[in-house]
Amino acid sequence: MLLSEMKQGEKGVVVRIAGKGALRRRLLEMGVVKGTEVFVEKYAPLKDPVELVLKGFHLSLRVEEAAQITVERSLQGTG
């Protein structure tokens, strides 16, 4: 599923990052690489952007940017 489809409090593992150019590079450099575990902390009050926790820090992305990331949802990962 896409990262943008995950709900608040869900956890997943990055499978693929689509897209091109600056956004993709930026994501990779911030540590959003294949195999990274991400936790959806919350969506902003206007439902965009989304706040993630990964590698021990908090990262915010626009929903359209999160839609470039494919994740596999971890089953036990709600909390």
Binding site: G21, A22, L23, R24, R25, R26, L27, L28, E29, M30, G31, V33, K34, E41, K42, Y43, A44, P45, L46, K47, D48, P49, E51, K55, G56, F57, H58, L59, S60, L61, R62, E65
Partner: protein
């Protein structure tokens, strides 16, 4: 080794790694803030003497990587590559080791002398993360020093290590760099061999690094490489293209993506060995704060409260010192008035220089307070949350969430607002925000609305003024969208932004931030604004020998004498009445003379000369002249109108209103004039700030022309449209 020499130390690190705090601790107030050449990224450096050495500390922009996507990254990398600092201190946030090491591996790859400052390891330890510094040092062959930036711990040690490193011979070849997977490594060595065989002497960068960058398709390195190596280089580039195509087919990914993966793989290996994380039951302080501050329901109300408070502080609290400065300026000018003999020079000094600079320097308290607040928002980490909350709305205009703050500030004063765009990372966002901020109706325009709307719209004045503000907002949104899809086209900068942990700000660093930015403003005072004041004064003070339509001094004497006769002849009661009449008559003449003087000054002549331009807007020559003087500061529009209608300083507060009403101005032309005032070119101080912040004459000229054209068109529509609809 004891002889004195200057060692250049560059500080590199991720944003929020505590880099600025360490820089402030090292250099204190001995820092120089400027811009990196050609760009508007702040450059900070400090010269200190320590342990018998002169140390030049350069604060590189905070970046996550050295891939040249943003100006910050280009600036940081160019400095490392071209200025070859003696040592680079990479400040590593211990709580974010993995991500910090990404930049660290890139710095290692460049082959410069790197030293790690493992910052805030105490915080990390509290959160259950332990880092084996010795192991880290061994694995990467880099000295590691523990620091706690906000407690000023480990700084001396850090500098000592840096000096030691600078004094040792260049590192031996044996170094632990990232090893990429076999296919990538093969490609790298192929390119590297070609470079060494054919163009080794022509390039100044290390061959392996150049090979890696070419393989990553790094535009800047490619360009420089091509520029230096000519035909032989073209062969190598051709070979690189083939290798990239091969790798793309092989991995189904671009080479740079595979390489980034490999770097993180390499980093993951290091992390495994040096970092131990115990129980994850840590209390995340920041997370708890965010439960409130970015809460779905109360996040916005709190945000609005903070902004309101900032506005109040800036403009309400700032009003007091503003008054003091104003009286100070008056004091200086009356003091100067007393000691300088009557002359042209005196007029220049008092009305030109003191008056001109004085009218801008009153903004200093606003600027100090505003920048203190902004520094507070930034240093605590709230600024990122504000952007998080506002991004959805600002994205509609094609802007980043952070643009909200400067635009809002525009309602107060455009000068600090334009300076506040420095908080935006993307150059395009910055320019776009600077272009549309002037449409936010600044507080200096309010007196103009109050007089005009108050005179012609009476009870409806409030609604009219509110609509003006609204018009400004709507036009800024429309302009934003227009520019985004034309002049500043391109993909929106990715929003991808770290939400750093909340931190208790340090007063020292708040003060330094505030002062740095205010200094920029003060420097303007001494330069451009001073010159501008003199020019404006010259235009309104010359020519000196005006041919008045009436010999005013003769007339005043005549009036004076005739009253003297009357007074002498009158009884005691009438005497007082006549005395008062005499004063009134003389003042009347003086005002008429002033009005004529303004009218016939160069400023007045220019105003009259351009008045045909304003005719279709329903604005007469007096309006044109006052709009022209409004270029200096918007509130001057009112006082110029006062002078031109000879009501300046009149006891009757409604005199100007009466004069305006009887001048043939109609509600419709007043509205047209207000619309023009709302939208036309920013004041002189703001324009000079636009010039400074865009670092571009082109954008400054564009801003002036665009705002003025929009103003003219909008006022034209209001006036002509209104006339057609039958209003007057």
């Amino acid at each position: 080794m004891t002889d004195k020499k200057t060692i250049t130390i560059a500080l590199a690190g991720n944003p929020n790694s505590g880099k600025t705090t360490i820089f402030n601790n090292i250099t204190g107030t001995r820092q120089k803030v400027g811009n990196w050449p050609g760009v508007t990224v702040e450059k900070k450096e400090g010269l200190i003497r320590k342990f018998g050495y002169d140390l030049k500390i350069v604060d590189l922009p905070g970046t996550y990587s050295l891939t040249p996507f943003s100006i910050e990254e280009i600036v940081a990398r160019d400095f490392v590559l071209d200025e070859s600092p003696d040592v680079i201190i990479d400040i590593i946030d211990a709580s974010n080791l993995e991500r910090s090491l990404y930049l660290a591996t890139q710095l290692r790859e460049i082959d410069s002398k790197v030293l790690f400052a493992l910052n805030m390891a105490d915080v990390a330890r509290l959160n259950g993360t332990k880092i084996d510094a010795e192991m880290l040092s061994d694995l990467l062959a880099v000295p590691v020093v523990f620091t706690v930036g906000n407690k000023n711990e480990g700084i001396d040690n850090l500098l000592q290590e840096a000096i030691k490193l600078a004094e040792t011979a260049p590192a031996e070849k044996e170094k632990r760099n990232v090893k990429y997977n076999k296919d990538i490594e093969n490609a790298i060595s192929k390119i590297q061999n070609l470079i060494e065989e054919k163009v080794k002497e022509k390039i100044n960068y290390k061959s392996r690094w150049t090979a890696i960058k070419l393989l990553e398709d790094d535009k800047i390195v490619k360009e420089r490489f091509a520029g230096k190596t000519g035909a032989e280089g073209e062969e190598i580039l051709e070979e690189t293209r083939n290798l990239r195509t091969y790798l793309l087919n092989h991995f189904d990914e671009d080479a740079e993506i595979v390489m980034t993966d490999d770097r993180y793989g390499f980093i993951a290996g290091i992390i495994k060995e040096v970092q131990t994380t115990t129980a994850r039951d840590r209390v995340d302080f920041s997370r708890n704060i965010d439960l409130v501050l970015t809460n779905r329901f109360i996040g916005f109300p709190i945000f609005i409260f903070f902004i309101w408070a900032m506005f109040q502080l800036t403009f309400t609290l700032g009003a007091y010192p503003m008054d003091w400065i104003e009286s100070g300026v008056n004091l200086i000018s009356s003091f100067a008035g007393n000691i300088v003999p009557e002359s042209l020079l005196k007029d220049l000094l008092i009305n030109g220089i003191i008056g001109g600079v004085g009218s801008v320097i009153v903004f200093l308290p606003n600027i100090l307070i505003l920048f203190f607040c902004i520094a507070l928002l930034e240093d605590t980490g709230y600024m990122a949350r504000a952007a998080f909350l506002m991004d959805k709305i600002m994205h509609l205009i094609g802007l980043h969430g952070k643009s909200f703050i400067p635009m809002l500030m525009g309602f107060g004063c455009n000068v600090p607002a334009i300076m506040a765009t420095r908080t935006l990372e993307s150059e395009k966002d910055r320019i776009l925000t600077i272009l549309i901020t002037p449409f936010m109706s600044c507080s200096a325009k309010l007196p103009v609305y109050i007089v005009l709307a108050g005179t012609f719209f009476a009870a409806k004045a409030g609604n009219v003024i509110f609509s003006l503000y609204l018009l400004g907002i709507v036009l800024s949104i429309l302009s934003g969208r227009l520019f985004r899809s034309t002049l500043l086209k391109g993909v929106d900068a990715p929003f991808v932004m770290e939400l750093p942990p909340y931190r208790v700000p340090m007063l020292k660093s708040l003060m330094i931030h505030m002062w740095d930015r205010s200094k920029i403003f003060l420097k303007r005072m001494g330069g451009v604004i001073l010159v501008g004041s003199v020019i404006v004064w010259t235009l309104s003070a010359f020519p000196r020998n005006i041919e008045y339509s009436l010999d005013y001094s003769f007339e005043m004497n005549r009036v004076n004498e005739s009253f003297n006769l009357k007074i002498a002849a009158a009884g005691d009661e009438d005497k007082e009445v006549f005395k008062k009449e005499r004063i009134a008559a003389i003042i009347g003449l003086q005002k008429a003379m002033n009005a004529e003087k303004t009218e016939k000054s160069y400023m007045g002549r220019i105003g009259k000369g351009i008045s045909p331009v304003f005719e279709p807007l329903g604005i007469d020559w007096r309006g044109s002249v006052s709009l022209l003087t409004g270029f200096f500061a918007k509130e001057i529009v009112v006082s110029t109108l006062g002078v031109l209608y000879s009501t300046e300083g009149h006891d009757d507060k409604d005199a100007l209103k009466k004069a305006l009403r009887s001048s043939g101005m109609t509600p419709l032309s007043a509205l047209s004039m207000m619309v023009f005032v709302l939208l036309y070119l920013p004041c002189f101080a703001a324009i000079s700030m636009i010039r400074k912040e865009t670092a571009s004459f082109k954008w400054t000229a564009f801003s002036i022309i665009y705002t003025t054209s929009v103003a003219w068109i909008a006022a034209f529509c209001v006036f002509q449209g209104g006339k057609m609809l039958g209003f007057l």
